[in-house]
Symmetry: C2
Subunit: 176 residues, 2 copies
Amino acid sequence: MSLRHALLGLLDTGPASGYDLMRTFNSTLSAVWPATQSQVYTDLNRLAEAGQIRVAAEGPRGRKSYEITAAGREELRHWLLEVAPDGYRRNDVLLRVFLLGAVSPSEAREFLRQRHAISGRHRAALEERDAGTDWDDDPLSVYGRLTLEWGKRFMTMQQEWSAWALEQLEKAPPHT
Amino acid sequence: MSLRHALLGLLDTGPASGYDLMRTFNSTLSAVWPATQSQVYTDLNRLAEAGQIRVAAEGPRGRKSYEITAAGREELRHWLLEVAPDGYRRNDVLLRVFLLGAVSPSEAREFLRQRHAISGRHRAALEERDAGTDWDDDPLSVYGRLTLEWGKRFMTMQQEWSAWALEQLEKAPPHT
DNA sequence: CTCCCACGTTCCAGTATTGACACGTCGCGG
DNA sequence: CCGCGACGTGTCAATACTGGAACGTGGGAG
């Protein structure tokens, strides 16, 4: 459902083709809302049918440059401010943790050690990306920086949590 | 894909009916991996077809008590320890933040204030749930406590982040 | 003893998402 | 001037997920 809103949001910053949008999804947005190429194109067509975007210009190899319409802006605004977010749902790492009783305590500890290491790596990668980007003061840059910071804090939290969880398990292993 | 593994994991702790599993999903597990009733029942049938669970007993009103089989335990173990988790993907709150340039700076700030408040409420609710549970030392209790702690830390992180983000916006509002 | 609610399962239509395949074209490096 | 890699779009089948409806039953409260 939200892919269409993501597309509206991107088009709100200026016209773009499906291909352009695709690339944005595969780079910046993939961590927050992944999408495949087929979905992007089908949803663009649906948005056009719904009159929320329109083909502004056709370019070289069948390229269609889309732009957002007034109705699209309306819908985007509504979704941003008035539709209650789902929030976080569906976390397959946490699901595994919950079910870790199915393996031995030492395997469970190893699992947590792995998570600790992985969170650290992700955190470092985000740190690097932050440092390697020259942030501007345009909206996408400002709000992009906020989401990146969220990611860094998230990874830090996970790292601290897994260290803590490991301690807990060493202190009081589950009684079978 | 993971729903089936969640079911296997729950059945690994003892036999249960679809109805029982449903209830577990609607209470404990809903925050980590939501599932509707129809999905639970269809996946139970598929697991049975695949020979990973089996009907252990039939009860009163057509009740089927399922138990995990050796093949099921094998699959569960494999998924837990050898399949790389997706980790965190798809966050519609963060997606909104990223696209917040579509509304006015003051509306964006209001959005963050809302998130701050909501995170606080969720955190309090988890805190309360923690205090109101008498934790045992059986696996589901031990690992359940770890996931609950993750939730608390997540909410705390979000609260701190939104306060920080708000500050950033006040300090340097996006330039249109 | 009766009624109602919780127990219990199944089916279905619609949408979302994935992954792959198919197909055509501009443009530039060699 | 030729080929190939990037540009660019579309379609399909399969699976995941949602929301709702339908249907039947046992057991305990009154």
